[in-house]
């Protein structure tokens, strides 16, 4: 789909009466951790602080990283996880997961953190009434990396995913290694075949297979399923999702076993109810206290992911599931019934001909807000939107920050927090921004729309109410 060359950035739509007003934090590409208000005012920048992602803690704290490991030797390895106060001082730091000696680099301990982490007190890292993450104590769950060889998967070196818990003082308290549970994910033989030959090899460090690529990890927290006796949803259990495998799964904190999952296949019941989830991000259980609590919320990217049979879009069987638009799904984890969704259809786009205007083939996220709205990061285009339960767009922001090295204004994941998370600031003004009429908006020197001369042609028929296009679309109904 064509994108315009020129378009506004910053806040473009804002309805203060319908939005959950607060601060939004995100990692501005190659700039730092940025907090903005609803009108896009930049309240605070922790310059240079990395964020994969950035999250806020009550009291004006931000969590992020001081840097990334050289991408010559690994990928998406952040060397630490740090908590930084409003003044920019590091008040907590963890890096003692693995001692790394890369050629030409100073030997150092690294957290090898990537994609997600959770501080004790809050299961998901975003605002949940009554569930504040601890700021001066408590353990932290971290999604990390570990290099290993697992012959069950492949003879090639793997960049495996781990989840570990560190105490406030830096002691590792718990660890889970993804490849240890390979057989529990239910891969078919064709998937095992291609995984063995190409476990998503990345060129860094001489080559390593990022076979699962976990990109979200959170705790379930208290929930109605467990209250009813379903042990799979123990509040301490952990939900994660694998971008490369299209799997969303829950592991038992007690045993490490996979106790619930959807994927890697969606062509049989009950998963078929969901449609084929592809390359998803930020799968988590909506925490107690928020509308939809107990349901799974996920940004289903589409794009390309999975292992399996070859097809014209995937001659080798790698990334063999393909779709050129995204969906945000909220579904019941027991029945797998979709209870809310935001897809091109809800976005008002003609499907499938215009569907890829809601499309981020990588990164992205979805956060349930206390008023029932959902904050969605459509990450690849740097677009953050807030929708009501009825799919009304009440806030939209486009990141104005493009990277110098990576020339996108992508936003990995944004979070909204109430104003009282930052006591150092007075709540800002909230000024409505009505959606502009793009049919009349012109850049300087462009002429207004409207023909200077108009004639009618005798005998022409009126336009069809549906369009029989080259491809079937939902206007054919």
């Amino acid at each position: 789909m064509s994108y315009p060359t020129i378009y506004p950035t910053g806040t473009t739509v804002y309805d203060p009466d319908k939005a959950f007003n607060g601060y939004t934090v995100f990692q501005a590409k190659e700039l730092g951790a940025l907090v903005i208000d609803m009108n896009g005012g930049e309240i605070k920048l922790w310059k240079g602080l990395h964020g994969f992602p950035n999250k806020m803690l009550k009291g004006g704290y931000v969590i992020g990283h001081t840097g990334e490991r050289s991408t010559k030797y690994s990928m998406q390895d952040y060397r630490d996880l740090v908590q930084v106060d409003w003044e920019g001082s590091i008040v907590w730091k963890f890096n003692a997961y693995e001692y790394i000696e890369d050629p030409g680099e100073e030997p150092q301990w690294m957290a090898r953190a990537h994609h997600d982490y959770q501080r004790e007190g809050n299961p998901v890292g975003y605002y949940v009434p009554g569930m504040e993450a601890k700021t001066d104590q408590g353990s932290t769950m971290i999604l990390g990396h570990k290099n290993l060889v697992c012959p069950q998967i492949s003879d090639k070196p793997l960049l495996d995913d781990v989840i570990y818990e560190t105490s406030w003082d830096g002691d590792i308290l718990w660890e889970w290694v993804c490849s240890d549970h390979f057989e529990e994910f239910g891969f078919r033989e064709d998937a095992k075949n291609i995984l063995c030959r190409d476990p998503n090899m990345r060129p860094c460090g001489g080559g390593m297979g990022d076979w699962m690529h976990l990109n979200a990890m959170s705790l379930l927290g208290p929930n109605r399923w467990y209250d009813k006796g379903d042990q799979r949803f123990h509040p301490d259990n952990i939900i994660a999702d694998g971008r490369e495998t299209n799997i969303i799964f829950i592991i038992s904190r007690q045993t490490g076993e996979v106790v619930w999952k959807v994927g890697p296949y969606y062509d049989y019941t009950p998963e078929s109810k969901l449609g084929w989830i592809i390359g998803q991000h930020h799968a988590h259980m909506i925490p107690r206290g928020l509308p939809g609590e107990g349901n799974i919320l996920v940004f289903d990217n589409g794009g390309w992911a999975g292992y399996g049979a070859c097809n014209p879009g995937s001659p080798t069987g790698t990334k063999n599931a393909l779709r050129d638009y995204s969906r945000v799904l909220e579904f019941d984890p027991v029945t797998l019934k979709i209870v809310w969704q935001y897809t091109p259809h809800e976005a008002g786009l003609v499907h499938p001909t215009d569907s890829n205007r809601f499309y981020s083939p990588f990164i992205s996220s979805a956060q349930r807000l206390p008023n029932g709205n959902t904050l969605i990061t459509e990450g690849s285009g740097g677009r953050i939107i807030e929708l009501t339960a009825g799919h009304e767009l009440v806030w939209e922001y486009i990141s104005p920050y493009w990277g110098n090295h990576f020339k996108m204004n992508m936003v990995y994941r944004a979070y909204r927090y109430p104003y009282d998370y930052i006591p150092q600031e007075n709540p800002p003004d909230e000024i409505a921004i009505a959606p502009m009429d793009v049919t009349s908006f012109r850049v300087p020197n462009a002429r207004a729309k409207g023909a200077e001369s108009e004639v009618s042609v005798e005998g022409v028929l009126p336009f069809q109410s549906s369009s029989a296009l080259c491809v079937v679309s939902d206007t054919d109904k």
């Binding site: 830096g170 002691d171 590792i172 718990w174 660890e175």
Partner: protein, 279 residues
């Protein structure tokens, strides 16, 4: 005394045993169990079944039969021929195959002279076997000799704890100096791993484990001091208590505390998995 040496066709270890006997002028009757010795072995096996050890790949050959005693495996056969029963504590059945020999273990007690032990190891090395040696730090003088001769291909160093815990943990004290001497040799051995076993114990004096995380850390610190390096393959191995003890196995989570403490001195410290036991 008349010996029978049961061998298998093409068995390299059997050839080594035969070669030793030839070199030392020991007369014996060689019976290839796949050839003319088949029936003799059947009879022998029926009569001595309980004395025959079966390894992971079946019955280990060669087997030496003195008429009264069954000695099995090339290491044990050579040790017996070299020194009778004197090396029994230090030469045990090998669990390795395919060119490797194990069961050579210096942990049990001080072997002051050690000339016989050295002779056995040297012979097997000379004949092309790859030598895996076990130690817990005892007998550093033998380790030094073998290391200097490049006779050790792989060393499994069971570090029972810091030196001051050895008497209680192994039943025999070990001087810190000896432990450090042995550890210092790691730097000149091509392949090795350090294994620190931790087992639950019946509670006494508030102790519920054989080695506490702090003691494990002291052991790790000792390795660093002895070798001048923080980087050795260092594994914390949880030992599963036998059912009759009634003791619960160590909770996996508790092992992370050990790992964290040990990593202050041994940055590669890991929790042992069964997959780590090979090679």
């Amino acid at each position: 005394m008349s010996y029978i040496l049961f061998t298998a066709t093409g068995c390299m270890r059997c050839s080594i045993a035969a070669s030793y006997m030839d070199d030392h002028g020991i007369s014996y009757d060689k019976q290839d169990i796949h050839a003319r010795g088949k029936e003799v072995f059947k009879t022998f096996y029926r009569e001595n079944r309980s004395a025959i050890f079966r390894g992971p790949e079946g019955v280990e050959f060669p087997i030496l039969f003195t008429g009264q005693k069954v000695v099995q495996g090339v290491g044990r056969v050579l040790a017996f021929l070299q020194a009778g029963d004197l090396l029994d504590k230090w030469v045990k059945p090998s669990l390795l195959t395919h060119g490797w020999i194990s069961g050579l273990d210096l942990s049990d007690a001080a072997l002051l002279d050690g000339a016989d032990f050295l002779a056995v190891v040297r012979f097997m090395k000379k004949k092309g076997l790859k030598i895996q040696l076990d130690t817990n730090g005892r007998n550093p003088h033998l380790l030094e000799t073998l290391a200097a001769e490049n006779a050790i291909d792989r060393l499994i160093f069971t570090l029972n704890g810091p030196g001051d815990r050895y008497a209680e943990l192994t039943g025999l004290a070990l001087d810190d100096t000896d432990l450090e001497r042995s550890l210092s040799l790691l730097n000149c051995i091509p392949a090795y791993k350090i294994i620190l076993p931790v087992r639950p114990v019946a509670q006494s004096d508030d102790r519920t484990v054989s080695v506490t995380p702090e003691e494990a850390a002291r052991a790790a610190a000792l390795v660093e001091r002895a070798t001048g390096s923080k980087k050795h393959p260092f594994y914390i191995r949880p030992v599963v208590p036998s059912p009759e003890t009634g003791l619960p196995a160590l909770a996996p989570a508790s092992l992370f505390t050990y790992r964290t403490r040990c990593r202050r001195y041994m940055v590669l410290a890991e929790i042992f998995k069964e997959a780590d036991s090979t090679g």
